[in-house]
Symmetry: C2
Subunit: 131 residues, 2 copies
DNA sequence: TATCTGTTATATATAATATATAACAGATAT
DNA sequence: ATATCTGTTATATATTATATATAACAGATA
């Protein structure tokens, strides 16, 4: 999987990594059982520090997206490792509320907002295998 | 309008301020022409620094949500000051893509995701006046 | 004139982020 | 066994973002 770091972004590198890996899973580029490069390899590839990669992996591990097998490396989990729980729902509602508020303030149509949301979701759904 | 700062949040204070004011406009609590407290008053009310408030106001001003009349204070703009432009659309797509990806990865249903999005948007729509 | 605005400047403190080096323990291949 | 690859942990440092503190300025108002 190809990851791109934007060093000019206001988003921290480890957040960019985490986000792109989740999007990779959603897009079906990363499937259950697929390996991720070691922290050292990934760091070397991207020209960043080992600990920055490790930080991203730690968050992904906490959220159940990956499992770390010592020596086997990092492996993508099945869907069963990463369910919708209360904490996640609360976070999603909060984040979506901010986006909906700004969209509404800027005069965006309800249909348009709904379409963008569903199109993005559907796109992932069509790209990745069922689980 | 009642603003609440979470000093334990991972979100910076000025981002919390900016977000809550935008949500206040979307919810109709803040209407066109309504004044906001001066940077010093707001800072005093919330127990934070004047410059932190000023930073939030500066971003809101840049995005057209408020206008600063020297001496009159800070005033909420009409919708015409804050339209959907290319930069905003790009940002919205990027943010929504992250959220949609994680929701899909966690096994959320397409209907459920759509419903949350539309419910939040509709809620703002029902609370605030037409513009 | 006194007092309220937003704004700007400067300095400092704190926290988050990223890097650098090193070491450890488990696993694998030679 | 030894070398080499894992993730992990520890420590230290540099950089940047965030927040605060103080002060001053210029416009507006009472």
């Amino acid at each position: 999987m190809i990851l791109k770091i934007d060093f000019e972004s206001d988003l921290p590198i480890y957040i960019q990594l985490k986000t792109q890996i989740i999007e990779g899973i959603a897009a079906g580029v990363l499937k259950e059982g697929d390996p991720l490069p070691s922290v050292r390899q990934m760091a070397s590839d991207l020209g960043i520090n080992l600990h920055t990669v490790n930080k991203a992996y730690t968050f992904l591990k906490q959220d159940g997206f990956i499992t770390v097998h010592r020596q086997k490396g990092v492996v993508i989990n099945s869907i069963h490792g990463r369910r919708v729980n209360e904490d996640y729902l609360a976070r999603l509602h909060k984040d979506l509320s901010s986006l909906a508020a700004e969209a509404y303030c800027r005069g965006m149509n309800e249909e348009e907002f709904k379409n963008i949301c569903t199109e993005l979701f559907t796109k992932f759904k069509s790209q990745s295998p069922k689980w």
